[in-house]
Symmetry: C2
């Protein structure tokens, strides 16, 4: 369980809305020995405000550099456009870059996004109020990246290097936007599982949860059907104290349940997370999980949806424990773990409440969730009460172009068929140099993970294609640079 749910509790009337924002972006600091990546940590003095001159202060932006395979002047730089979390976590979870570094002779740079990890513009005050949060935006983050790269390229050893932006999820959106807005800085971008169209008016707000549902539908007989009927069953049981007690016991909750809503929000989030991390091998991204975790979850939900409520919910509880207690180490499950100490979540909430407005909705028919419409006004009101700011629904489209991106170049949009975020992704190549890569068996940015013996062929092919295209960009950059100098 993460911080998010704490917020979901607070935001009772549409926990939903916030829950949705969080799935993509959950951060987790890796345990020791997650990988054996080897990098050096640096800090760069960034302007707090790139777009105004009144605030002339700076902050330390953290970035990580690995140059083990970078032996030659002008060799490329793979630049991870950090998203809403601790950059070391992204560094450890972007095995693709480590896997291809030698082949490309590339330097790896992982740049932390402002307001996350250690890169706090105002130290401990950064999240204190709307005034201090005012410099948290994708535009400021992209400017940070551009300024940092300018600095990194001041040396004769790097000043001709092609820089390739790489990112997953919101980091993938940043990678794509970085190439769109700063094509003089990056030769190309690999935008993995980047839902750049999950904005108002671009895609059906129901697509995200339909994909989650499809994953569970394929996960096993009756799996989605049983989840679909579970909500009413929870309502019924949680209407009495005895029912609440029974649910608390059955789900092994650390604290007794006081209302069914909390359990439902938590479960909804659980199913979404499972859809995102339905990887073909044992992995530890959001949680330690078995290979193809949805299949394992669904083994607990094969019975007929007609079974009595308690039998149904016993199955649901077992299913949830696959996600929360695969290791068997959890003595109880904690659905009220709060946001404290997890600035990443708070940052993403703020971003969702300003420019990252991503409508989501459910209808309970084409998806297995309780019906909930997208209600911008309610969302806006919550944002205002939480941060004192209101979201600007159209801004992302104005700034980043929405679907009209064909005049840009050199971006790979990779998406996985299992990933609910693919619903807001670019699935058809908009042009010859904007290439959509489809990984039918892929969950959330599977292609950015280390090679694994259980990888489906589709992701191996995708990575191969990505590397081939990146090599083209590097050549192209060299040719340009030659001409320009």
């Amino acid at each position: 369980m993460t911080a998010l749910f704490g917020f979901a509790l607070v935001l009772s009337c549409s926990a939903h809305v916030f829950a949705l924002k969080s799935h993509l972006f959950r951060q987790r600091v890796p345990g020791p020995a997650d990988t054996d990546v080897d990098y050096k940590t640096y800090y760069f003095d960034q302007k707090i405000d790139h777009f105004g001159f009144l605030e002339n202060g700076t902050f330390k932006q953290r970035y990580l550099v690995a140059d083990k395979h970078w032996h030659k002047e002008g060799n490329p730089i793979l630049f991870y456009t950090g998203n809403e979390g601790d950059i070391t976590w992204f560094c450890n979870n972007t095995g693709f870059m480590w896997d291809v570094a030698e082949e490309l002779g590339a330097m790896l740079v992982f740049a932390e996004h402002r307001y996350y990890g250690e890169s706090m513009p105002f130290g401990a005050e950064s999240y204190s109020d709307a005034k201090h949060l005012n410099y948290l935006s994708s535009e400021q983050a992209l400017a940070d990246f551009a300024v940092l790269i300018r600095y990194l390229k001041e040396s004769p050893a790097t000043n001709r290097s092609a820089v390739i932006a790489i990112g997953g999820s919101y980091g993938g959106m940043l990678a794509a936007w970085f190439r769109m807005k700063y094509p003089h800085v990056v030769a190309g971008a690999l935008a993995a599982s980047a839902p750049i169209w999950q904005f108002p008016g671009m895609v059906d707000c129901g697509v995200f949860y339909r994909i989650v549902t499809d994953d569970f539908s394929r996960g096993g007989k009756n799996c989605d059907a049983n989840i679909r009927v579970s909500w009413k069953a929870i309502d019924k049981l949680s209407s009495t104290d005895e029912g609440l007690q029974w649910l608390s016991r059955e789900f092994s909750l650390c604290a007794p349940l006081t209302k069914g809503f909390d359990l439902k929000s938590w479960l909804q989030e659980t199913w979404v997370n499972l859809a995102m991390v339905d990887y073909p091998y044992k992995a530890n991204f959001l949680q330690p999980l078995p290979a193809w975790p949805i299949k394992v979850v669904c083994e607990n939900l094969r019975f007929s949806p007609e079974v009595p409520e308690q039998e149904l919910l016993s199955g649901v509880a077992k299913a949830a424990k696959v996600y929360y207690n695969y290791t068997g180490e959890a003595s109880c499950l904690n659905i009220s773990q709060s946001a404290t100490g997890n600035l990443g979540m708070m940052g993403w909430f703020y971003q969702a409440c300003t420019e990252m407005v991503m409508p989501m909705c459910t209808d309970g028919v084409k998806d297995m969730f309780e019906p909930q419409e997208w209600n911008f006004q309610a969302f806006s009101d919550e944002c205002f009460s939480m941060f004192g700011v209101r979201p600007r629904a159209d801004w992302a489209a104005v700034m980043y172009g929405g679907k009209a991106i064909a005049s840009h170049s050199n971006i790979i949009f990779s998406n996985g068929g299992l990933d609910p975020w693919s619903g807001g992704g670019v699935l058809q190549s908009p042009s010859e140099s904007l290439v959509a890569v489809w990984i039918p068996e892929g969950a959330h940015h599977l292609d950015l993970r280390y090679n694994n013996e259980y990888d489906p062929k589709s992701v191996l092919d995708a990575r191969q294609q990505e590397v081939a295209i990146i090599k083209q960009w590097i050549k192209q950059w060299a040719a340009h640079t030659q001409r320009e100098l």
Copy 2:
């Protein structure tokens, strides 16, 4: 005389630096019946801050619309990206748009730049301090344009219309940058006399004044040579009270001269302005002037540079009066006219003091001016004392790409051989769709002016080429839009 000089006086140690910034951007509200343009005036509620969410206020952005020739749904929109001045003045001085509106069946829109004309984010307080000035930047202005166009295209009549950005001088820079940063909003940009490379490290800081000098060198025998020796002569005469009195009389100054520096700054500005408006016909852009005004000026400077100081400066005074009193209506010349009421100048100073850092220098050898090096630190210190902000020398390059613009598309960069700003312009086509247009006989954005019987063939050809390319962009846009819908 304009506001600028008032500032030059204040900023004694490098009036020069500021003077340079102003030539491009002088504003002047047109007199009645300057032209017979017919437009409607509108006001659009713009966010004061597009890049932060703390400041959620709005202001009224003025824009002008002329749709006399726009008869058909989906027909194009020519959009003037307003620069640092009253938009009605640009509207009246961009005859090109009025001339081609019928042929293109185009709607004309002239959008005022924030902090100029009537488009004041904080009304009368807009210029009161650095806090209120904090939203004056090219990025905010471009976002204004993008948001305004989104609004203009909400109607079914316009939502498929290709929008072509057009601008001259700083407005041309904005047009080019607009296409670079918002290619989903504008199909292409005509950037006339846009010195997008007049930034640190991109061109020789001396090129601007060398071009001015070349213009005077071609203007008549001994013309540049006499101006070159005039500075020392002024120094000598102004070293005594009698000399100062003599100069004040000779130049018909409204107020007696107290130091030679003031006269020199004013003259330097005069020669620069003449180079900018050396048009082939009688015109009234910065001042009412005869055709080819530099030739007329130089008729007063044909004597040998060996003549005695007073004879020399008598000639210079006559030359200056061509610029300041061609109509004969001025009873005296006012070199201390202050900045009061001319917010345009103040705005441009602020922009120069923040992101529009344009190095200029003179050596007195390759140009006819007194040697002055580019001194960033001194400039920065003046900015700080004036506005409490410091310029960011590299920011424009980071943001807009400097010379590495080849991956963009659909921009025409037109420049005139007589225009000193051409030194910072794009003179060679960077790619097939980034087209440089050269007008050897052209001064500052001559191509954006009305057709005139005295126009040289080169500008007629340029306009024809520009229209042909704009037509291609419109077709291209229609094809794209068809595919996307």
